[in-house]
C-alpha cells in the first residue's frame, strides 16, 4: 500500500511536470504579446521591449520554461502580468472558495445523480424511468450560463429563497452548488441506473432477500454499495469537465473562485495566471484520481492495490 502510494505520488509529480510543460508551450505558441498588453497603447516600442526583457519574454522558449520551473521548485508561481500580484496570492485567495464549490457541487451531483439513478433503476421501464432519463439529458445538454441564470431568476429573484449571488454562508453556496449538481448529475444517474440494474440481477441480492431483509435494506445495504463502485473512478474523470462548468457558474453567482480568475486570465493572456490555474486544477484532477484509486479498494475489498 505504502509503496503504491509513493509510486503514485511520484507519478503525479511527473504528470504535473508534463502539464506545466505543455501549458507553457501552448501559451508560448499563442500569437499574442503580453508585453504589449501591459505597456498599453501609448507605450513606445522601447518601453515594450523593455517590459518584454524584464518578463523574460525575449528568451528562447526552453530558457523561459526552465526559469519558470526553477521558480516553481522554490514555490514561486510568478507574478500576474495584469494584476502585478503574486500568482500564488491570487490563487490562494480563491482556492478556498473554489474548493468549497467543487466539493459541494460534486456532492450534489452525486447525491442527485445517484438518487435519480436508483429511482430509475427501481422503476425501470416505466414512465418514471423514462422521464428521469430524459431529464438527465436535458441537464447534460444545458448551457451552464443559461441554466444558472434561470435558477438565479427563479429561486433568488422570484422566489427569494436564496441570496442573489455572493460568497460566505451555506446559504450562498446552495444555489450555485445545486445548479452544478443538477447539470452534471445526468452522467451519474445513467451510470448508476445501469449498474444498479446489473447488481439487482446478481445472486447475492437473492440471498439478501432470502434472509428476510426489508426492501430498503436490500437496496441500500446490498445493491447500492455494489452499484456505486464503478462511479468512483468516474468522479475523478468528471472533475476536469466539472471545472469547465465551474468557470461559468462562478461568474453568474459572483463566486470568488478560480474559475473567474482563469476566465479573466485567458481573456488577457495573463500567462503566469493561466499556467498557475492550470497547474492547480491539474493538481486537483491528479489527486482526485489518486484518491479514487485509493478509495475503490476501500469500498471494494476484491481489488487489491498490491496486485494491480
Amino acid at each position: 500500500m505504502a509503496v503504491y502510494i509513493l509510486r503514485r505520488l511520484a507519478y503525479a509529480v511527473l504528470i504535473l511536470l508534463g502539464v506545466s510543460f505543455i501549458t507553457y508551450l501552448l501559451l508560448y505558441l499563442i500569437p499574442a504579446d503580453p508585453a504589449r498588453q501591459l505597456a498599453g497603447r501609448s507605450a513606445t516600442p522601447e518601453t515594450v521591449a523593455n517590459i518584454r526583457a524584464q518578463l523574460g519574454l525575449d528568451l528562447p522558449f526552453y530558457q523561459q520554461y526552465f526559469r519558470y520551473l526553477w521558480d516553481l521548485l522554490q514555490g514561486d508561481l510568478g507574478r500576474s502580468y495584469i494584476q502585478r500580484t503574486e500568482v500564488s496570492a491570487l490563487i490562494g485567495s480563491r482556492l478556498v472558495a473554489s474548493s468549497e464549490l467543487l466539493v459541494w457541487g460534486i456532492g450534489f451531483e452525486l447525491l442527485i445523480g445517484i438518487s435519480l439513478g436508483v429511482l430509475a433503476a427501481l422503476k425501470r421501464n416505466t414512465a418514471v424511468d423514462r422521464a428521469l432519463m430524459t431529464l438527465s439529458f436535458v441537464g447534460v445538454s444545458s448551457p451552464h450560463f443559461i441554466a444558472s441564470m434561470l435558477f438565479l431568476y427563479l429561486f433568488a429573484v422570484n422566489l427569494d429563497w436564496f441570496p442573489l449571488g455572493g460568497y460566505g454562508t451555506v446559504h450562498h453556496i446552495l444555489l450555485p452548488a445545486l445548479t452544478l449538481g443538477l447539470l452534471g448529475s445526468g452522467w451519474y444517474s445513467r451510470m448508476v441506473r445501469s449498474s444498479m440494474i446489473e447488481v439487482l440481477q446478481q445472486d447475492f441480492i437473492r440471498t439478501a432477500r432470502s434472509k428476510g431483509l426489508t426492501r430498503a435494506r436490500v437496496i441500500f445495504r446490498h445493491v447500492l454499495p455494489n452499484a456505486i463502485i464503478p462511479v468512483i473512478p468516474m468522479v475523478a474523470i468528471d472533475i476536469g469537465i466539472f471545472i469547465g462548468g465551474l468557470v461559468v457558474v462562478e461568474s453568474v453567482f459572483g463566486w470568488p473562485g478560480l474559475g473567474q480568475l482563469a476566465w479573466q486570465a485567458i481573456q488577457r493572456v495573463d500567462i503566469p495566471v493561466i499556467v498557475g490555474v492550470t497547474m492547480i486544477s491539474a493538481v486537483f484532477i491528479v489527486f482526485a484520481n489518486l484518491l479514487a484509486d485509493l478509495l475503490v479498494p476501500l469500498v471494494d475489498p476484491r481489488i487489491n492495490l498490491d496486485k494491480t
Partner: protein
Amino acid sequence: MTVPASANVRQTLLSVENLSIEFGQGPSRKRVVDDLSFHIQPGETLCIAGESGSGKSLSALAIMGLLPKMARLPSGAILYDNQDLLSQSEREMQAIRGQRIGMIFQEPMTSLNPIMRIGDQMMETLKRHRIATGEAAWQRIRAMLDAVKIPKVSERLRQYPHELSGGLRQRVMIAMAMLCSPRILIADEPTTALDVTIQAQILELIRELQQEYDTGVLMITHDMGVVAEMADDVVVMNRGLVEETAPIRTLFSSPAADYTRKLLAAVPRLGTAPPLEERPEKPAVLEVEALNVRYPMRKKSLFEPATEVHAVNDVNFELYEGETLGLVGESGCGKSTTGRALMSMLNFEGSIKVRGRDIRGLKGSALKAVRQDIQMVFQDPFAALNPRKTIAELVGEPLLIHGRGSAEERTAQVAELLGKVGLPEADVMTRYPHQFSGGQRQRICIARSLALNPQIIVADEPVSALDVSVQSQVLDLMEDLQRQYNLSYLFISHDMAVVERLCHRVAVMFGGRIVEIGTRDQVLHNPQHPYTKRLLSAVPIPALDSKRDFRSLLADSQAPDPIRPKGQAIAPSQYDEVARGHWVAIEA
C-alpha cells in the same frame, strides 16, 4: 395424492399442494412447474431430484416467495405452519424468510455480497429478526460458524467472501441460513459446484445441523449419490412434472416411473466400470517434463521479498495416442493451470512436447500450427462462448482462422460437426449461446474443439456442470470420437466415477504435484497415496445403504501454502514405482 406411510406420524411442517408455475402470456405461455405436491416433517430430508430445467429451483423459490416478477402461480398452495405462504404480503414473507425458512443457494461464489464482511452479513440476519444483538449476537454467529467447522472463526468474521475458498463460502452460507434456527432449510444444489471432499464435508454438516435443530430439509440435487446419502423421501421431477414421489428405499429398490429408472441407470457409479481392454503400446503424442508454473505476486512493501504462487510443481507425464488420462484433485491443486500450460496460455518452465515438438516459446505461425494438434474444452461452457456470436460463427471460427475451406465448405463442416455432437437441428446454427442449455453449450464447445481435427483434446471438467443424462451423452460422445479419430484426451475432473468410466490412466494432483499416477485400476481400486485414499472415501455412492461416514473428512486437510518467495527452487518430486506404471510420490 397419497401421503407416504412413514410420514403421517409426525406433524407436517411444510406442505406444497398442486403448485404450478408459469411464465409468459398468451401463445408464448410456458408452464415450468406443473402440479407439484410434497410434504416435509421436522428432522426429515426431502430431496427433489431431476435434471436441469425441470423446475426444481423455481419450486424452491416459490416457497421463499422469491420468484421472478414474470412468474405466475395459476394454482396451488404452500402451507407452512397452517398459513398459506402464497397469500402472505411481502412484509409478512420477509418475517418468515431467514427466520422460519432458510435457504442455501447453488452458487457459493456469487451468493454472498462481495463487499460486505462475513460477520456483518450474518449479523444483519440476526438484527433483522431481532434474535440477538450486540455481544450475544456475535456469540451466536461464532457458535454457528464453529458448528459448520470453519477454522479460525474470529478471523473469518472480518474477512470478505473472496478471501474464502468455495467450500468455506458454502459453509458460511449454511451457517447464515441456520442462524435463526429455521424450521425449514432449503438447499438448492448446495454442493454441485464443489469438489468431492468438500461436498462430503458439506453434506455431513447439513446432516449434523438437522439433527441438532430438528430442521426439515428440502434438498435439491441432480446427483443421485447425494440423494442416496441424504434423503428420507424423494420427489423426481422432469420437465415440470412430478414423475415419482417415494421414500428413498422404494425409489432405489423398485422405481415406479420409467424416467426414474432411466435416471438411475445413467448415473455412473464408482467401481462399476467394466474392465479395460488391453491396449497395445502406442507412441506418446504429448510429453510433459518438469513442468513448473508460477504466478507472480506483487510486492506488498519495499522491504518484503517478492513472492509467487507455485501453481504447478515439477509435473511429468506422457499422453499416448488414443488414450485418456484423467487428472483429478481438489480445487486449486493446479489442474486447470496444467491444462492452460499445455495450451500455451501462460508462461511455464520445463518442456511440453506436442507430437515431439517442444512448444515452449513458440510464437506466431509456429504456435498457430501447434494449435491444430491440441485443443481445449473449457470448464465453464457459457464463459467460453462469446455471447454475441451465433453457433455457426463460433464453431466455424477455428476453420476461418486457419483458412480451411470456402464459406460454403465451412458451413457444411459446421453442420457436420454439430451433427456429431448431437445437435443436428437446422436452427441451431443461427442461435446464440444463451439459447441453449448447459449440456448443449458444452457440446457446442466440443464441436468447436473438434473443428480442426486435433490429435489431443484437453478437457477441463467438461461434464461437471451437466445432468447425469446429459453427462452420459457427452461421455459417450467423447468415447465415440476417440474411437473414430484415435483422439487422446487429458481429462480434468473431480468426479471419480466419471474418471473411472472414461479414463485409461489417472493422475492425482495435490498442491501442484502429481502424487500418484498409474492405470485406472491401479489408482482407483488400489490407491497408495494417503491423499488419493481420502479423495476416494469422499465420493458418495448412488445406492442404498451405502451412506458413508464423512465425519473424518471434516477436519480440513491442509494443502501446502502455494505462495513462496520468488525464485525459490523446489525439491523435485520423488516417486516410488509400486507396480508397473504405477508411481506414488514419496512424502518427505
